[in-house]
Amino acid sequence: SAVISQKPSRDICQRGTSLTIQCQVDSQVTMMFWYRQQPGQSLTLIATANQGSEATYESGFVIDKFPISRPNLTFSTLTVSNLSPEDSSIYLCSVEVVAREQYFGPGTRLLVL
């Protein structure tokens, strides 16, 4: 397994601003992923972040709204830009540790007013 931390754990933001979420892993991993969980819903993949390459976004998610950085094998950030109330969700990062099994961070709860 892996120990994954996220910062902040929660935040309340005003519409029109941005929030950057950090994901830190205690070991080097190739594949990192970002997911969104809207209230009462399941998880949806936002993008895949590999070190040294551009993130790959899923349909419905664009880089201008969700820019991602992956500067090294233990760290990634997700920024949610130009916030609106519809962005209120839990944002989770995950990593592939061994044999395709993914482990998830504790999540960042975002409320946009």
Partner: protein, 112 residues
């Protein structure tokens, strides 16, 4: 894309009861995982089970890849088993790991 369907959507049981949760998926998969999301939102890995059968204490899981379904069994339920159980799959591909597609989950409530 791949479809993942979980049933039942909601389940209320008395403590000590057994339950079976089902996950159907529409295509061949490289990866299938079961998670428990606790009331604090943390996703807890239960099983990595693209095929075969595994057991861990009171929980066990079986995936029949050829028939595209997986089952999660919970025996002797405890109140701490309450929460949402998610099945998630990774579409079969020849490349590296891809993200997971999640089902909508089964919301389980265990009453004392």
């Amino acid at each position: 894309g791949i479809q993942v369907e979980q049933s039942p959507p909601d389940l209320i049981l008395q403590e000590g009861a057994n339950s079976t949760l089902r996950c159907n998926f529409s295509d061949s998969v490289n990866n299938l995982q079961w998670f428990h999301q606790n009331p604090w939102g943390q996703l807890i890995n239960l099983f990595y089970i693209p095929s075969g059968t595994k057991q861990n204490g009171r929980l066990s899981a079986t995936t029949v890849a050829t028939e595209r379904y997986s089952l999660l069994y919970i025996s002797s339920s405890q109140t701490t088993d309450s929460g949402v159980y998610f099945c998630a799959v990774e579409l079969h591909s020849g490349g590296g790991a891809d993200g997971l597609t999640f089902g909508k989950g089964t919301h389980l409530i265990i009453q004392p």
